[in-house]
């Protein structure tokens, strides 16, 4: 990301609330113009704190945040020109929907006719044209959500921040709103920084995802890279489903390593991603859909015998739990095709995978 294209830059940001521990430890992050960046992480990982620092509601303990190359640490929130959508929408209950939308325009002393024009346009954008005279309490959760989004955009901010905006909605509505927000941001070319703990939401909406854990960005990459090429055990585990083996590197062949699984369960050939040399411990990560059942002998570097413990029919695929290499929680997703492998509970089968799909990562916990 070249810095001349970046709208927001976090430089060496650190944040502590109590002077004892750091909530955010040395954050460096660029957000490009027009980018939809999601901060993803478990609660307490520091992602919301980062958003609050960007919005100006929390001061950074150390470091500097730049907006359009201007340092903004000392700029109060109302002068930053950043739109924000809050977790519980934060609509003003004593104002109608239209008044809510007009509020940012009123404080900018925009003239009445332009205010009305913009409010109407924003309401149309979120398909709430006829609801301008209602109070927020008279709207459903999804409608309130749309008002909150419209309100954050009505004054054409350079940047829009969203703090788990869909957290209070039920599943169907949440998915629908994900697409709606994504489309609005694409159509208007918005720069969005979005915070969520829901990985599927992050994968659906983002151009780039920054995975937070323990105050550190573990990996910041586009969704497909993050899913397919996680750089550490935390990302591999946090995004999507993942089979894990813990072991010790026994042979280093440059691109690949051989890892001896704990308890002498066997040796696996894996892609060397984030691991030291021979003798170091490593976590192996393997996606359930990258496992082949009953491969041709010799066609894959890793072929082991497993026991099918449990079969769950899920329509498009069959989720199978194997015991393999001493682990009884090895998940395989078998696609439901005409010639998919026939398995029975308790039966045995050979399962195999390529060295490329099995990533040798850092030895977390």
């Amino acid at each position: 990301m070249s810095s001349d294209n970046s709208l927001v830059r976090f430089v060496d940001i650190q944040k502590s609330y109590d002077g004892v521990s750091l909530v955010v430890k040395s954050l460096n992050l660029d957000v490009a113009h027009g980018e939809f960046l999601t901060m993803l992480g478990p609660s307490g990982s520091g992602k919301t704190t980062c958003l609050m620092m960007l919005a100006g509601f929390e001061p950074a303990t150390h470091g500097e945040i730049y907006l359009k190359d201007n340092p903004i640490n000392r700029v109060p929130p109302h002068k930053r020109g950043i739109g924000m959508v809050f977790q519980n929408y934060a609509l003003f209950p004593h104002m109608t929907v239209a008044e809510n939308l007009a509020f940012p325009l009123q404080v900018r002393n925009m003239d009445k006719s332009e205010q009305k024009q913009r409010v109407d346009r924003a309401l149309d954008m979120v398909q709430l044209g006829p609801f301008g005279d209602r109070r927020p309490a008279q709207l459903s959760g999804g409608q309130q959500q749309r008002v909150a989004v419209a309100r954050s955009l009505v004054f054409d901010p350079d940047l829009v921040l969203m703090d788990e905006p869909l957290g209070a909605l039920d599943k169907n509505l949440r998915e629908q709103m994900q697409y709606e927000i994504k489309h609005i941001s694409e159509n208007l070319g918005l720069t969005v920084v979005y915070v969520t703990h829901d990985q599927s939401e992050a994968l659906t909406m983002s151009n780039r995802i920054a995975v937070f854990d323990d105050g550190i960005i573990q990996q910041c990459a586009p969704p497909e890279v993050l899913y397919e090429k996680p750089e550490n055990a935390f990302c591999a585990n946090f995004i999507g489903e993942n089979n894990r083996f813990l072991g010790k590197v026994s042979e280093d062949n440059g691109d690949t390593v051989k890892v001896e699984i704990d308890n002498n369960a066997g040796t696996v050939v894996a892609k060397k991603v984030n691991v030291g040399g021979v003798g170091d411990r490593s976590t192996l990560s393997l996606r359930p859909e990258r496992v082949t059942v009953n491969p041709e002998p010799g066609s894959l570097p890793n072929i082991f015998n497993g026991v099918a413990e449990e079969l769950i029919y899920l329509g498009d695929h069959i989720r199978t739990r194997f015991t393999v290499l001493g682990h009884d929680d090895f998940i395989v997703k078998i696609p439901n095709s005409a010639n998919h492998a026939q398995l029975e509970e308790g039966g045995t089968a050979n399962i195999g995978w390529t060295a490329e799909d099995c990533r040798a990562l850092d030895p977390s916990d």
Binding site: P77, F86, Q87, A90, F92, F103, S152
Partner: protein, 423 residues
């Protein structure tokens, strides 16, 4: 969609009983329980609150004492006109002697004398003197002359006009006194002379001070309540204890300690003199006047403002103000346009609570108010326990009650009582 029920079709339960009746029967049990739960408190409130208030309302217009003590006089005097220039006829005077004899024997006639004395001084003395002498009076030839012989006031037409005016079962005279008005001898109503006016100024002072106190509690309580609602629960719990601490101290002790602080030789004056701000000869008069009443009552009533405000503010998420700020509002605009309107319910609840408590407050103004800082309640107490003019006390109390009700209705019209949140 299911078929729409015809409108006049009666929906029944499985056994054919109309649904509404079944539902009523099913709910009756629950209603019965609810009524039983409410009953003890309802009885308590009825006996200790509603009936006394009703009694007070009656007492403020009650004049049955005239009918009781002067049963014959009030009948005879009916024909006598107020604008008559002659004394009432002989029959009236005979009735007077008759009533006085009975009243003097039972020693109850002086009550009527006291009652009439409220309207015209000297009446009490007249009645006592007449009661003393009436026992020795044999049946005279002319009752009129005999009575005038006992006291020449019986020959004064004003005495009879007063008796005529107050001969009804009900009287408006207490209310007239409460409004500093009086009945002229011809029955017309006029305001009392300036030097006898007491109550209108007192009502005005009571309202003025109550508003001042309410305003001060808002000014002082609002920031505290805001702080309470924003700090951590652990801290706010401790601070609330500090706010409530005054509740746990005797009202009398608290009020007395204000005397120790505020009086001329008190702590505050001593300090001000000590550091040279005041000369020793012009110490501030902060007590036994309006200032003392306002200071002490603001202190005592402050928790009643803080608690409703706090409970409302706690429900306001910080994200509202943050949202306003992110949209470009300055801290001041965000406060005035977003935070303040959402705390109106708390201000209203606290304001009404403090105002109603202040307008009827008794003990603090009695102790620190002196003569210039006493309120209407102190005069009500005076008439109940010292002057024994219960009718006037009841009239003043009723006016106070109506005043509070009027303000309450006004509040409902302006702010809406449904908005009020007490906790």
């Amino acid at each position: 969609m299911a078929t729409v029920q015809a409108e006049n079709e009666v929906i029944t339960t499985a056994d054919g009983v109309p649904l509404k009746e079944s539902l009523k029967k099913a709910l009756w049990q629950r209603k019965k329980t609810a009524l039983l739960l409410v009953a003890p408190l309802f009885l308590f409130v009825l006996i200790t609150f509603l009936i006394p208030i009703f009694d007070m309302l009656i007492r403020s217009v009650d004049n049955s004492i005239a009918v009781e003590q002067f049963p014959n006089v009030v009948v005879e005097i009916r024909d006598w006109e107020l604008d008559s220039t002659e004394l009432p006829d002989e029959a009236t005077f005979q009735a007077l002697i008759e009533d006085f004899k009975v009243g003097a024997k039972e020693k109850t006639i002086s009550r009527l004398g006291r009652r009439l004395n409220y309207e015209q001084s000297g009446m009490s003395g007249l009645f006592r003197k007449t009661a003393r002498k009436i026992k020795k009076l044999e049946t005279p030839e002319s009752a009129t002359e005999a009575m005038i012989a006992i006291d020449k006031d019986w020959g004064d037409i004003e005495t009879w006009r007063l008796i005529k005016r107050e001969s009804g079962k009900y009287s408006s005279s207490y209310y007239l006194s409460a409004f500093d008005a009086q009945k002229e001898s011809d029955g017309s109503i006029s305001m009392k002379p300036e030097d006898q006016k007491v109550y209108l100024a007192l009502f005005w002072r009571t309202i003025r001070l109550s508003f001042t106190i309410t305003f001060l509690t808002i000014i002082l309580g609002y920031p505290i309540a805001y702080l309470l609602s924003t700090v951590k629960t652990k801290t706010s719990n401790m601070l609330i204890i500090l706010v409530l601490l005054p509740f746990w101290t005797s009202l009398l002790v608290r009020t007395s300690s204000w005397i120790a602080l505020l009086q001329k030789e008190g702590v505050i004056n001593d300090i001000l003199v000590g550091i040279g701000i005041l000369g020793d000869d012009n110490r501030l008069a902060m007590i036994h006047n309006e200032t003392g009443t306002v200071i002490a009552m603001t202190h005592i009533l402050l928790p009643f403002m803080v608690l409703p405000l706090f409970s409302v503010m706690k429900t306001i998420p910080p994200s509202w103000v943050r949202a306003a700020r992110s949209m470009g509002a300055t801290p001041f605009t965000a406060f005035v346009r977003i935070y303040l309107p959402n705390t109106v319910a708390g201000i209203g609840a606290g304001g009404i609570l403090v105002f109603i408590l202040a307008i009827g407050y008794y003990i603090t103004p009695a102790l620190v108010g002196g003569t210039k800082g006493t309120l209407i309640s102190n005069f009500i107490a005076y008439h109940i326990s010292t002057s024994l003019n219960w009718g006037l006390a009841a009239a003043l109390g009723t006016i106070l009650l109506l005043l509070v009700l009027a303000l309450y209705i006004l509040y409902d019209k302006v702010v809406g009582i449904n908005n009020m949140k007490l906790g």
